[in-house]
């Protein structure tokens, strides 16, 4: 972002990478897939790099409103200085927080999730998925991230994107508004689960396994981790892959 400013230019969109996308080895691959797509369509995008800081989502959901607001105000200050107007995120949690919880603190931006951006690019013809690419005949099931689906009513964009892949899209018995959580939300990602008789991600992976998919598609780095662990738990990591929609599109494009 600073480089654009130095050149006196403004990017079309700010790519909010998020902590997982920046630091988690698995999620970094999703980040790179998103970047590949953005480069492919020659979109002028920027990242905040070292100036980006946690949105405060896990702090807020864990009840630490102070920490959340400190993070939010700091991020808003930086983004407002750069005059950011449009943001795409690689994570539904960042998406939700930036979109719904920043405006009240002075951060007003148009915020979209990367699956929405990809759908937009496909709809406008900027991104074309050719037939017969690596997913032909493959069975893909989409796991709705809570913070994309129920929290923000985005159910169609990820599905429309997947439909372009020429694969067989199958729904789990619990999907869309009834989709079961992966178990990571509400700051659970950063703690051990409370005592119970099962892990939530195992329960959710069983839903997915029922439809016998080749690929479990996700749109969230945390869901990705949880579902990947669930698949390992079921000893299916050889035959079932957990992949982000951005990765699937990048692969279909040979990017």
């Amino acid at each position: 972002m600073a480089e654009y400013l130095a050149k006196g230019e403004a990017p079309d969109i700010l790519f909010w990478v998020g902590c997982a996308g920046s630091f988690d080895d698995r999620a970094k691959k999703i980040t790179k897939a998103i970047v590949k797509i953005l480069n492919k369509v020659e979109m002028k995008f920027a990242v905040l790099g070292a100036e980006e800081s946690c949105t405060g989502d896990p702090a807020k959901r864990a009840g630490n409103e102070f920490l959340f607001q400190m993070q939010a105000m700091q991020n808003i200050q930086i983004m407002n200085e750069y005059k950011v107007s449009r943001i795409v995120t690689g994570c539904p949690h960042c998406f939700n927080t930036l979109k719904n919880e920043y405006p009240e603190l002075g951060g007003n931006y148009e915020v979209i999730h990367h699956t929405q951006l990809i759908q937009e690019l496909i709809d406008s013809g900027k991104l074309r998925i050719e037939d017969g690419k690596p997913f032909k005949g493959k069975k893909i099931t989409f796991h709705d991230p809570c913070y994309l689906g129920r929290a923000n009513d985005v159910y169609e964009a990820p599905r429309k994107v997947l439909e372009t892949l020429d694969a067989e899209l199958v729904e789990m018995k619990r999907c869309k508004t009834k989709g079961l959580c992966c178990g990571a939300g509400g700051a659970q990602m950063f703690k051990e689960a409370e005592p119970g008789n099962k892990e939530v991600n195992v329960e959710r992976t069983e839903d997915a396994m029922e439809v016998k998919p080749d690929i479990i598609a996700t749109g969230c780095p945390f869901c990705n981790t949880m579902m990947t662990d669930g698949v390992k738990n079921a000893n299916k990591e050889g035959s079932v892959h957990v992949m982000d929609i951005a990765e699937l599109i990048a692969q279909a494009q040979d990017l």
């Binding site: 800081s53 864990a62 919880e101 129920r150």
Partner: protein
């Protein structure tokens, strides 16, 4: 005025009076909550109330109970038309005052009520079976033992009695009408079972039976009404205001705490003088988050009264499904029970007294609160737009900001965010490393 009319008026006044007394109590309990102004987006609120409360849109996510519930709901609404006649008859000493003037329309309305009463009766038996014979898990959770279980059944027994009296009344009346040579009323069911059951009885017994049915109906309606404030069944009234005042924003948006905003703004403002006297006189020091029902917005308390303990929230909850202690329904039940307890205490001992108990710890444990994934499944599932998640987060806020009680891993996560801007221990300068990694 006959003795019957006097007795009627006394019963009616007593019934409505006692109900009014209890409604006042409910209102004062709801007012224990914090003030919160909601008068925006009226058009949207009308729409959501029409669809969700009146139209039962969310009920139909589960079609079988939704149909059964619809029978009872519509029967309940339409039977109230008959109540108007009962009240007029009771006061004036008339008998079926609308019958001569309305003619065919009257027959139609009473016939519809009879048909709906039969459907409601079928639904009531089905509900009794669902609650007691079929092992439907959401009716057998830990919080559904004792009073809540009994409450669920009592209301169904009352419904059976109510329908029983309606049919006694109409059946015996039909037999009387025929015996007096006036022919059949022609109501949908009573024209058949009336003569079949009661035909051949002497006219005096029929008159007595008809009166038993008529008075029984009235007494049951009043009993039912007065039972509501003690029961989860208050939802039949509160569902409407509850949906009206429900959250219209994206479910993912958690409320902003303004008190915190002011403090954080001051921290960010280099001009601010931390030792300056506050610009406005500060009232009672506010707790951050919610420790008791008095810290909740009144809408949260309205929701607690509206909850009918159907348990759809709990059956959709990922934590509950995997054996954790959390049950969103219990959060609402605890909130209601605590509110009633504190309200009773304050009415007895004075407005400014406090019994020393609180919602968190005494009713809702930390383990329950920390099991939530904030996935909004409970909010989505609730047929009347109750939001248990808002209460859970408010209670977490109290634990974290007032008691500094969070699971150790979360405390670590907090300090990571504070120190390096990420929930994990990575240096902010490494944020862009992915760019050059293969």
């Amino acid at each position: 005025m006959g003795i019957g009319s006097i007795v009627f008026i006394v019963i009616l006044i007593a019934g409505f009076g006692f109900f009014g007394f209890n409604v006042k109590k409910v209102i004062s309990n709801i007012n224990l909550g914090r003030d919160k102004k909601i008068n925006d987006r009226k058009g949207e609120r009308w729409k959501v109330m029409t669809l969700v409360a009146l139209g039962q849109k969310k009920m139909f996510q589960r079609p079988i109970p939704a149909m059964l519930h619809l029978f009872i709901y519509v029967a309940f609404l339409l039977t109230q038309i008959e109540l108007i006649e009962i009240i007029i008859d009771g006061i004036t000493g008339n008998h079926r005052v609308f019958y001569p003037s309305l003619g065919g329309l009257y027959t139609l309305v009473i016939s519809i009520i009879e048909v709906l009463s039969v459907l409601a009766l079928i639904a009531t038996f089905a509900f009794l079976a669902r609650r007691n014979l079929l092992k439907i898990p959401r009716f057998h959770k830990d919080e559904m033992t004792g009073w809540p279980k009994l409450d669920g059944n009592i209301i169904l027994y009352l419904e059976i009695l109510l329908v029983f009296f309606i049919f006694t009344m109409n059946g015996a009346d039909e037999a009387v009408h025929i015996a007096e040579g006036k022919g059949s009323y022609g109501f949908a069911f009573s024209q058949f079972y009336g003569p079949a059951f009661f035909g051949g009885m002497d006219i005096d017994s029929l008159h007595i039976l008809e009166r038993i049915g008529w008075w029984g109906h009235l007494v049951m309606v009043l009993t039912f009404m007065n039972y509501l404030p003690y029961s989860k069944h208050f939802h039949i009234f509160l569902a409407f205001p509850n949906v009206w005042y429900s959250n219209l924003d994206a479910k993912g948006r958690l409320s902003n705490m303004e008190a915190v905003t002011n403090e954080v703004k001051m921290m960010f403002d280099p001009e601010a003088d931390p030792y300056a006297a506050p610009a406005e006189p500060v009232g009672e020091p506010q707790t951050f988050g919610v420790k008791d029902v008095t810290d909740l917005p009144w809408t949260g308390l309205l929701q607690a009264y509206t909850c009918t303990e159907c348990g759809r929230c709990t059956s959709e909850c990922p934590a509950n499904q995997t054996g954790k202690l959390l049950s969103p329904r219990k959060i609402m039940m605890d909130t209601r029970d605590r509110m009633v307890e504190l309200g009773d205490y304050k009415r007895k001992n004075g407005e400014d007294t406090h019994d020393g108990k609180k919602l968190v710890h005494d009713y809702i444990s930390e383990e329950e609160l920390w099991a939530c994934t904030s996935c909004n499944a409970c909010v989505e599932a609730c047929p009347v737009n109750i939001d248990p998640l808002a209460i859970i987060v408010d209670l977490r806020r109290y634990l974290v900001m007032e008691e500094s009680k969070a699971p150790a891993e979360l405390t670590g996560m907090f300090s990571n965010i504070e120190n390096n801007g990420a929930p994990w221990q990575f240096s902010p300068s490494d944020r862009l490393n992915w760019k050059d990694e293969q």
